[in-house]
């Protein structure tokens, strides 16, 4: 790149000429005092005139990070040159320095901490390159770069029970007897039982050969469904889309760790779908899929229906549960024999009237007064009505056997899944008991 004289150098040359001319024309040698510093300045500029040099190279320090990690956009130039970089903040990204502009010697960097998963494009504006004395300078536009941010995962907790283990091998205790480690009962020895399972204590006490029966351990298929049709943001900045993706990532991580086959289906167009599979590779695929998501595609209202679901699969639907089409899709899943669990990702403050009129400080009173003067001042009440309507829908879902859990981490989900498994078992036991009684 080619540097041009800085305004300081040009100013020095002009002032030198002016001082020299006036000194000569007025025959005032004393004016040489004014000309002297600008003579030095201009002479330095001529002596340090730079040739054509390589353009500075810039880029991000990483292209795949986890939510909360820091990534750096660094611009490097030749040693001894000043480099100024300005990075406009991408949506929902913290910058260091907060202005996104930094100037350094030889190289400079702006740090970014994405506050949202997905793909973030970093597009620096015009950068300034100058020699270290600020006599010559040039501008260039650094190349844009992008970083994929994987959603954060909550630490795995308990809750390894699922309603219908449908695989052949895995970690979940089945309701059927088979090879495993969980004791089901102690029963009479039958032909074909393994000798190492003989319970010698019971055998010696009863005088008849007894053996330990265990529950088979199986895996299952878990389908994580995300509702990215709309993004609803609460007053505190919590976003339904962020909670949905966080819940989906945590659920997928949890069940993959247990050895299950986990798939992903997006009802919107933000994330895309991943067919069910197990193992560490599937975990990587899911994380990559979530990291590449583009939030700009969240505005398409059409729901992508689920084509295939295996009967008995556990389906975890992460959704704010507001869209009629999404609720209809949940019902279709139930009718197709899936064990459906809905994770409510609506920001809790939306439609809550509890703290709306509790302004205590002067600032809060003023804010409340300004809020009352806004043209769209009935949003809170409108959301409260919408939440009441939604509560009716959630009650209907509960009647159909679809529990709805507000997302508070995988722990609360595990408890509900265990309850779901217990509910699934209960009617069968009741039917069996009724038949036996009749």
């Amino acid at each position: 790149m080619r540097l041009r004289p800085s305004p300081a150098l040009v100013r020095a040359v002009v002032l030198l000429v002016l001082c020299g001319t006036l000194a000569v024309l007025t025959s005032q040698v004393a004016l040489l005092v004014l000309a002297a510093p600008f003579t030095v300045w201009a002479a330095l500029g001529v002596l340090r005139r730079p040739g054509t040099s390589e353009a500075p190279d810039g880029g991000l320090s990483a292209h795949r990070v986890q939510l909360g990690d820091v990534v750096e956009y660094r611009l490097r130039s030749e040693p001894g040159t000043l480099v100024g970089l300005t990075v406009p903040p991408p949506a929902r990204c913290d910058l260091d320095p907060p202005s996104g502009a930094a100037t350094g010697l030889g190289e400079t960097a702006v740090r970014l901490r994405p506050q949202r998963w997905g793909r973030h494009r970093v597009e620096p504006t015009e950068a300034v390159v100058a020699d270290d004395w600020g006599l010559w300078l040039g501008t260039l536009r650094p190349r844009p770069d992008a970083v994929s941010v994987a959603p954060g995962r909550e630490p795995p907790g308990r809750g390894d029970v699922i309603p219908h283990p449908i695989g052949l091998v895995g970690l979940h205790p089945s309701r059927t007897r088979g090879e495993g480690v969980t004791l089901a009962e102690v029963r009479r020895f039958q032909t074909g039982d393994r000798l190492r399972r003989i319970n010698w204590r019971v055998t010696s006490r009863t005088g008849q050969l007894h053996t330990n029966a265990t529950l088979a351990e199986r895996d299952t298929e878990v389908l994580v469904v995300t509702d990215t049709v709309a993004d609803l943001v609460g007053d505190s900045g919590t976003s339904s889309l962020d909670t949905t993706v966080l819940a989906a990532a945590s659920v997928a991580e949890h069940y993959l760790r247990l050895g299950d086959r986990v798939g992903l289906h997006d009802l919107g167009h933000v994330i895309g779908s991943v067919p069910p599979a197990a193992g560490a590779r599937q975990r990587t695929v899911l994380v990559e899929q979530l990291a590449r998501a583009s939030v700009e595609r969240a505005a398409r209202p059409m729901v992508r229906r689920i084509r295939r679901v295996r009967p008995g699969s556990l389906v975890v639907v992460c959704s704010p549960l507001l869209d009629r089409d999404v609720l209809a899709e949940v019902l279709r899943l139930v009718h197709r024999g899936a064990a459906v669990l809905a994770v409510d990702t609506l920001p809790p403050e939306l439609g809550r009237l509890d703290g709306a009129h509790r302004a205590r400080s002067v600032g809060a009173v003023l804010d409340a007064a300004v809020e009352r003067l806004r043209p769209q001042r009935y949003w809170t009440e409108a959301w409260a009505l919408r939440r009441l309507e939604r509560d009716v829908d959630l009650d209907r879902l509960a009647e159909l056997g679809v529990p709805v859990v507000t997302w508070r981490g995988i722990e609360s989900l595990g408890t509900v899944v265990a309850a779901l498994a217990a509910n699934r078992g209960a009617p069968r036991m009741a039917r069996g008991a009724g038949a036996g009684a009749g």
Binding site: V13, V17, L34, P37, V40, L105
Partner: protein, 187 residues
């Protein structure tokens, strides 16, 4: 009216986002300008020149990142030349030393403001490097004062004066060639 208010709010917001070094550099410019003007005013109080220079100084302070600070600096040089020409016994060299130092401070601070956006975080090493030409210029002021004092005893012939004018014009031509094509980057 609304657009005027919007512009005012935008300007205030931009001023609020300015880094501390920007205000410090502008303070240096202001102090330097006051020093140079005060010395000249003490010699030849000229209300017209004073008002014009105050306006040019204000413009230079607000739009310091382009070529506008040149107006004030050129005005100071003109005022010094007028003062020197109107003083019967000639201007004392020592009087012009604080004026020259004021000009150096004004010029160096305005030059430093040019290199980065007002809200940029600047590494300390950058300030050290930018201070080098300013330091050399201060030394040059003292050397120039010594030289001017010594040259005050020399009477130049008319032919030499003509040659000097030609040299100065050539330097002026070089200045025009070096003039940057980009517009002011204050916005």
């Amino acid at each position: 009216m609304l657009s005027l208010l919007d512009a005012l709010v935008e300007w205030l917001d931009a001023a609020r986002r300015c880094a501390r070094h920007v205000w410090l550099l502008r303070l240096v410019m202001l102090v330097s300008a006051v020093l140079a003007c005060a010395v000249l005013w003490s010699r030849t109080p000229n209300a017209v020149l004073g008002v014009l220079l105050a306006g040019a100084g204000l413009v230079g302070l607000v739009w310091a990142r382009g070529q506008l600070p040149l107006l004030f600096a050129a005005g100071v040089v003109l005022w010094a030349a007028v003062t020197a020409a109107t003083t019967p016994e000639g201007l004392d060299v020592l009087v012009l030393v604080p004026v020259a130092l004021g000009l150096v401070g004004w010029h160096a601070a305005a030059g430093a403001l040019t290199l980065a956006q007002p809200w940029t975080r600047v590494a300390p090493a950058v300030w050290r490097r930018l201070g080098v030409p300013a330091g050399l210029a201060v030394v040059a002021v003292l050397a120039g004062a010594l030289l001017a004092w010594a040259a005050g005893f020399v009477v130049l012939p008319a032919a030499l004066t003509l040659v000097a004018v030609v040299v100065v014009l050539l330097v002026a031509l070089a200045g025009l060639v070096l003039w940057p094509t980009a517009a002011s980057r204050d916005r």
